[in-house]
Amino acid sequence: MSKNIQQMVRVDRREALKAAGASVLALGFASTAQATPEAAAEALSKATGGAATTMSDKVKFVGLPEIAENGATVPVGISVDSPMSADNYVKHIHVFAEGNPSPETITFNLTPTGKAEVNTRIRLGKTQNVVAAAVMSDGSVLTAKREVKVTIGGCGG
């Protein structure tokens, strides 16, 4: 399905650990400090040096559920429609979780080869939006957003 991400990307380990270490009960009972959409937007702005962003259907979530089966480990794939040629490729894919204690989740750094498709798993402390931002080689930033519900469950008919 996708390439082995360890070969094609460098995970920002410090950021990933920060997100993983901030454990929030799946039901959201714990009153841990949580990020806001504004904090996530600020983090996005910081990561992209303040570049203008555009929502784009060129950025697609793959395998990201609408309702998480397990908030502690939510699969998230991002695919970006790009030729990945030397003069037109995706340089970075940032993932933000708007409602986590720290909105920065992971950054993938890509080189102009193969397909722009990455996969990982993230922890989501509660129902929130996941934002993906693709930084293109021309400096433009394309984004996608999807709400992922983290529910109590147990009532399907």
Partner: protein
Amino acid sequence: MLTRRDFMQVTAATAALMGSGANIARAAAGQTITQDDLLNFDSVGNVTLLNFTDIHAQLVPLYFREPSVNLGVGEVHGLPPHLTGEAFLKHFGLTPGTPEAYAFSSVDYANLATQYGRIGGLAHLATLIKAIRAERDGNTLLVDCGDTWQGSYTSLATQGEDMVNAMNALGVDVMVPHWEFTYGADRVQELIEKLNFPFLAGNVIDNEWQEKVFDTTAMFERGGVKIAVVGQAFPYTPVANPRYMIPDWSFGIRPEMVQENIDKARSEGAELVVLASHNGFDVDRKLASIVSGVDVILTGHTHDAIPGVIEVNDTLLVATGSHGKFLGRLDLDVQGGKVKNYNYKLIPVFSDVIQPDPEIQAVVDGIRAPHANVINEKLGTASSLLYRRGNFNGTFDDLICNAIIEERDTQISMSPGFRWGATVIPGQDITVDDVYTQTSITYPNVYRSEMTGETIKLILEDVADNLFNPDPFYQQGGDMVRVGGMGYRIDINKTIGNRISDMTLLSSGETIEPAKTYVVGGWASVNEGTVGPPIYDLLANHIRKKKVVDIEPNTSIKVVGA
């Protein structure tokens, strides 16, 4: 007793709805309806799809009342299946009091039930299936959209095997799953080995390698047409049911995988692509607008009985109800990889006028006979109508909620918003069989615990969002969790966290405070290690003590925005 005149009114209405094959009403008042009337159909084309879904292990005829409340929010507000009662009858041109009004709606249910009798029964369903197969020899494909192995005493006692044997005998061609998974991963694999036909679940992958776990597609040839059936399991099985029973499998709607399977089937020469789905009707309606190349979606899960085809772009959606109450017949004229014409009828299985098929009756009797002493025990009598379906409450759930409060000494009780479970009409005995049609699950323990008012609200809000999220892809397809001992107000058009208000403890009339603690009992917890007596034993004991069950209409839930 069904009259021929009544039935003809209905078929005329149905035919008008389809816009093809209009039946001319033959006035013959006073004659009883016959099996032939039910089978009456103007066949079309080269393929006949027969479909039932959500039979919930019901082998013998029963009563099943359709919901009187089934609200839709957002784009689907006021569209089928979110029409009930008089509005439903009006929309589909059905006359109150007719057999079809009885079959499809809740209007005057208890009265009409005494007139038109029980519905369903596998041997009765089999008679219809065999007659249509004989008429359309070599053209017929029988699709079961799942929730087949769970819902009765015998299915629980045999861990689903009774239904596997019954469906093999019936000659089902292909099935998809949901509640099947509640027997656990190992048992599911064991039972698949015993099936004579494919078990499809194209949207299930393993957590470790993200590889497909089950077959995704089955190919058939009927009437010279190459047919691909792509299968879709209930996408939220590990959320709505215990994940610990299937820890290695991941589900989800996965539209991109559905599209991939459709494209693959087309590239392998499929002229007709059918999605057999346990997504739920609204999810499938949205899915049909996203994917391309699927001719028919046979829907399931949400138990909607829609007497016509719903078209979305080039896709025909069919919804055949639940509990063996209906058989869907969709005739298709497939030419050059396209559906050129079709005719559809959702046939109510009126048990009293159908001669049961001897072969399947013998299978059913063979399954039930060893358990006869247990399941036929009379526990009490219903003096009011006991039913489950409805968005907020049902009288059978009110009975269950009362039983939990009394038997476990709690202030508040909760019962899951399942949509399966038979109806008991006034004057009818309540047997152990009836108790199990309401409670037969593999995680039955009734917990007793303390919860804060805040937690109770959180639960209600969470479930309400599963039901009333305006985006169908976020809906799980059950009804609202039922509550006993408390009342509340719900505004269905608000967002999560803002729908529920005015939570009141009924015993004292006091407001339920967020910080205060309450004793709550409930069943069907998806958490592993839940402790307490099984719900079926608790409920049976309760009815034995009561002897006569009379449930007053529930007025403690105020619904706003319907």
